[in-house]
């Protein structure tokens, strides 16, 4: 059969219509190009060193750290959904679970990949496990992220093995089944890890006594940002899942998850976001009136620099915080798809903005009285690697969507108890 040469129907789950292979490849090709560019840029950075970037001694962290914090926050949907489904037994969210896992896997693996380029001596990265400095938030981050990435890949395996051809291999099939029965354990571990490193990512900047703009007091060894990050992450995670699912539904033009799932996610996201905004506002007030002055810094010192004036603070808390929160909590919103997605998008932007402020603005602001406000523009290598990660995400997701039962497929919802 001539058509069978250019067809992969044998790999696509039976009864699922997918676009033809050539069209699929056509869709992938631009992303593949972007990925290739990203890999090339990353190669340059690894071979010639970080002089390929526009980072410098004052701007020691740049676009990449912002990206890492951002995607990991958005990827929080994975562990949080797992937490809701397996620990809190919210079965109605099951349809979204596989997508959550895949998205989480993409976000975390992408972040780790970028981190490996970002450090000057990747070959020594493992030292952290041998000479851990237990006072460092980064140790906590390294440890949690690497473990959680492992967990995510394990959670990804069952989905992978449910591919139509792979499942025909008995050993795969049985292993998938057995592993799937143990996934709640992984979900529990993952939840623990994620809660911690989402927090320690916030702590990363919160502990910087030398950077009064970021420094926060807190509870025990954890600055307030530790808790704010957890909150904001689990608030934005579901919103991001909604965005992804809705986008896929738009691209493929078919209904993938029942409407009530959206409603549920919207409510959860909105509720958490509202709590976050409240907490964030309190934290900001305490910081501006107590923490910062006691370090010898007056608030006007932070917000008198263009373009980082008070509007950015307003945008972070009100425009991209309070507004989407109330929208998502508003029942009617869930029925109106466009509005719902706008709200979700705003929530995600809010979180990204928060990460941006904490990473970039912190470094741009002067600390010494004779410092000047610094600006930084990433080099094409940085941007390209950034794009590479996005392309990687799109490709992995597209492949998963095409060949794996992502949305409440057979075998996911009803699983026979083996003997």
């Amino acid at each position: 059969m001539a058509s069978s040469v250019l067809t992969d129907s044998r790999w696509i789950a039976r009864g699922e219509e997918r676009t033809s292979l050539p069209r699929f490849l056509l869709w992938l090709s631009p992303w593949a190009l972007l990925l290739a560019l990203g890999v090339y840029a990353a190669g340059l950075c690894l071979y010639y060193g970080l002089n390929q970037t526009n980072m410098d001694n004052r701007f020691a962290f740049g676009l990449w750290i912002f990206l890492d914090l951002g995607v990991i926050a958005l990827g929080a949907g994975a562990f949080f959904t797992g937490f809701l489904v397996y620990i809190l037994k919210r079965a109605e969210l099951k349809p979204i679970l596989n997508t959550a896992v895949v998205v989480g896997f993409i976000c975390y693996s992408g972040a780790v990949a970028i981190l490996m380029i970002d450090v000057g001596q990747p070959l020594r990265a493992w030292f952290t496990f041998w000479h851990p400095n237990t006072h460092s938030m980064l140790t906590e981050v390294t440890f949690c992220i690497s473990c959680y990435l492992l967990v995510l890949s394990l959670e990804y395996i069952p989905i992978l093995f449910r591919n139509r051809q792979l499942r025909k291999i008995p050993s795969f099939f049985i292993f998938e089944h057995q592993l799937h029965k143990l996934v709640p354990v992984l979900a529990a571990v993952g939840t623990l890890l994620s809660f911690f490193h989402q927090g320690s990512l916030g702590g990363l900047y919160g502990v910087l006594r030398g950077r009064p703009f970021a420094f926060r007091t807190g509870f025990l060894i954890w600055p307030s940002t530790f808790f704010l990050f957890i909150l904001s992450a689990i608030a934005s995670g579901p919103s991001f899942l909604m965005l992804v699912t809705a986008t896929v539904e738009k691209v493929t033009g078919r209904r993938l998850v029942p409407q009530e799932v959206f409603g549920r996610l919207a409510f959860i996201s909105g509720l958490l976001l509202a709590i976050y905004v409240a907490a964030k506002s309190v934290d900001t007030l305490v910081w501006l009136n107590v923490t910062s002055p006691s370090a010898g810094f007056a608030p006007w010192q932070y917000y008198s620099h263009k373009p980082f004036g008070t509007p950015i603070l307003f945008a972070e808390i009100v425009v991209f915080g309070l507004l989407p929160a109330s929208l998502l909590l508003f029942r009617k919103t869930a029925e109106h798809r466009g509005l719902l997605l706008t709200a979700a998008a705003m929530a995600c932007c809010g979180i990204l903005l928060n990460r941006f402020v904490l990473t970039v603005q912190t470094l741009a602001l002067p600390t010494l009285p004779f410092d000047e406000f610094l600006s930084y523009v990433p080099s094409w290598q940085e941007v390209a690697s950034f794009g590479g990660v996005i392309a990687y995400g799109v490709i992995v997701y597209s492949l998963s969507y095409r060949y794996l039962p992502l949305f409440g497929s057979k075998g996911e919802t009803t699983h026979v108890s083996g003997n």
């Binding site: 001596q121 070959l123 020594r124 493992w126 030292f127 291999i169 008995p170 050993s171 795969f172």
Partner: protein, 555 residues
């Protein structure tokens, strides 16, 4: 029995699991990190014992004492020699990186004839021919050295001519040479005994003279006190490092230094602040005020400031007669704390500004690179570094930093005669010759620097005046032999003459000088003869906004 896909998987998994418990992956992990810790392409200094040697910096005529850290026969670090009685352990920033100069890519390593590669023998031949055909002019940038003596005597033998390119610091003393008949080279500033210094944009705290001399003096007597024993008044049109540290900074219009000097002179005379003698400047006070941008009152106050605490000394960065005249008016010429004459009299040198007809011109490596002789004679130019395009005929590689034995005559601004020796500590990186060695090669009758140094030491010993100063001070009269003296100098000691006898110089000033030659703005490296700067110096000034960008070779 068939080998099924399942078996393959099981086997693979088993192998992977097994590998983890073997030392292999851990060993690899460890080795990769070790490798990253000493990448083969990163140079590491060999762990060899270090020793310290004394010498002096001859890159400019101030001859600061050096404490050189040596390893495996190479200089691996430079610091000031704290026992050095002139520089007192201080160096200019350029000195601290000087040990890397010899390795600069701009280092001259081979003879070049009109841009193309040549050899010493060809250069010798060409020079011998020129010598047989006509007079040879020799140009020196650092007079008074043993090498200078060799060059000068050679030039005179050639019925030629010995000319000197003098630095701004020596040029600044020219007016006094005119008026007193004492050669500028034997005049100096008695900084140690002065109380008020009026500096007209002179970079006193920024590499002027022997850096250690004034900076140490300033930090002992002036720094950080509102009423210093040493009052430094800096007159400058733009804010300089010296101005920032001065007791007073007088902000005047650019190029109005002479006007201010005249203005001050008028006030001093008209208000009888000084015993009025000599001419009065033609310029009115109002005129001076309008030129400088100061008020009449300000100038008057300043004049009083000058006589409030005497002795007062006005210092110009370069040849400026009005400022010199102000010193005369203040009675600061030939008095304690003013312009003094050093005991030993130097000769007056003819300037290289105009050059008599000659068959060939020999330029010593001490002459600044940008010096271009106004002559069509064949030019033999010695230099340790290539400072860029030049239209000389012969470019001859000279010894670089610490590569030759030389002596250190008295520094241009010094108030006391000194003599030191800078032994050569490192071997040249290529086949080099100093101008003195070169002429000796051509004219067997001419002496060598080594011999001259030797004789000079014997002379000093015979005179029995002054003392050898290092950690402690030993009068020459107490030394056992000239040999001992030379050895001491070889090891970083300095011979110092008795302090200047403050005999009042007869200084006739016919009329108040009209604006003399206006000095160009002196860069902080202007006394630095080498056309390149130590890489670290230029690097750090690029990596900090501390200095104006350096338009020098590699800077």
């Amino acid at each position: 029995m068939r080998f099924s896909r399942r078996d393959l998987l099981v086997w693979g998994a088993g192998a992977a699991a097994g590998l983890v418990v073997t030392p292999v992956p851990w060993k690899i992990l460890d080795d990769t990190s070790k490798w990253s810790q000493n990448w083969p392409w990163i140079p590491q200094p060999a762990r060899v014992p270090v020793e310290f040697k004394q010498s002096a910096c001859t890159l400019c005529p101030n001859g600061c004492g050096l404490r050189v850290r040596m390893a495996a026969g190479w200089a691996v670090g430079v610091a000031g020699l704290s026992t050095h009685s002139v520089s007192r352990g201080a160096l200019c920033p350029l000195g601290f990186g000087a040990h890397q100069l010899n390795w600069q890519p701009q280092r001259l390593r081979a003879v070049r004839h009109r841009g193309s590669a040549s050899s010493w023998s060809e250069a010798q031949a060409a020079f011998a021919k020129a010598r047989s055909e006509g007079p040879i002019v020799v140009i020196d940038g650092y007079p008074g050295r043993a090498a200078s003596f060799v060059l000068q005597s050679f030039a005179e033998k050639q019925s030629g001519n010995y000319r000197v390119v003098q630095g701004a610091e020596t040029r600044a003393l020219k007016p006094y040479e005119e008026w007193t008949g004492i050669p500028a080279a034997s005049l100096g500033y008695d900084l140690e005994n002065t109380t008020t210094i009026l500096s007209f944009g002179t970079p006193l705290l920024d590499g002027w003279g022997v850096p250690g001399r004034f900076t140490r003096l300033w930090s002992e007597r002036a720094a950080g006190t509102s009423d210093p024993q040493l009052r430094l008044i800096q007159v400058e049109s733009s804010f300089s490092r010296t101005a920032s540290k001065a007791w007073q900074w007088i902000h005047i219009r650019e190029g109005s230094d002479s006007a201010l000097a005249s203005g001050l002179a008028r006030v001093l005379v008209e208000q009888n602040l000084v015993p009025a003698h000599g001419p009065i400047p033609a310029m009115s006070l109002a005129e001076a005020a309008s030129q400088t941008g100061l008020t009449v009152q300000a100038i008057a106050d300043m004049a009083r400031m000058l006589i409030a605490k005497t002795p007062t000394l006005a210092i110009a960065p370069d040849n400026n007669p009005s400022i010199a005249a102000l010193n005369v008016l203040l009675g600061s010429v030939g008095t304690r704390g003013g312009i003094v004459r050093r005991t030993q009299s130097q000769q007056a040198y003819a300037s290289a500004d105009e050059i008599p007809n000659a068959r060939a011109i020999l330029i010593d490596s001490s002459v600044p690179w940008d010096f271009a002789p106004q002559s069509d004679a064949e030019v033999f130019r010695f230099a340790a570094w290539d400072g860029g395009p030049t239209k000389v005929d012969w470019l001859l590689p000279a010894p670089g930093f610490l590569e030759e034995l030389t002596d250190v005559p008295t520094a241009p601004t010094a108030s006391v005669e000194t003599y030191g020796i800078a032994p050569s500590l490192v071997k040249p990186v290529s086949e080099v010759q100093s101008a003195a060695q070169f002429v000796a090669g051509v004219d067997s009758s001419s002496s060598s620097p080594e011999k001259v140094i030797h004789t000079r030491c014997e002379e000093l010993y015979r005179k029995r005046s002054g003392a050898i100063v290092s950690k402690d001070r030993t009068p020459v009269s107490q030394l056992a032999s000239a040999q001992k003296l030379e050895e001491a100098l070889q090891n970083g000691a300095v011979w110092m003459d008795e302090p200047a006898s403050s005999v009042k110089l007869r200084c006739e000033l016919k009329e108040w000088p009209t604006n003399g030659p206006q000095p160009g703005p002196g860069n902080w490296t202007s006394e630095w003869a080498a056309p390149v700067l130590p890489p670290l110096a230029s690097k750090l000034y690029i990596e900090s906004d501390l200095r104006e960008s350096l338009h020098r070779g590699n800077a």
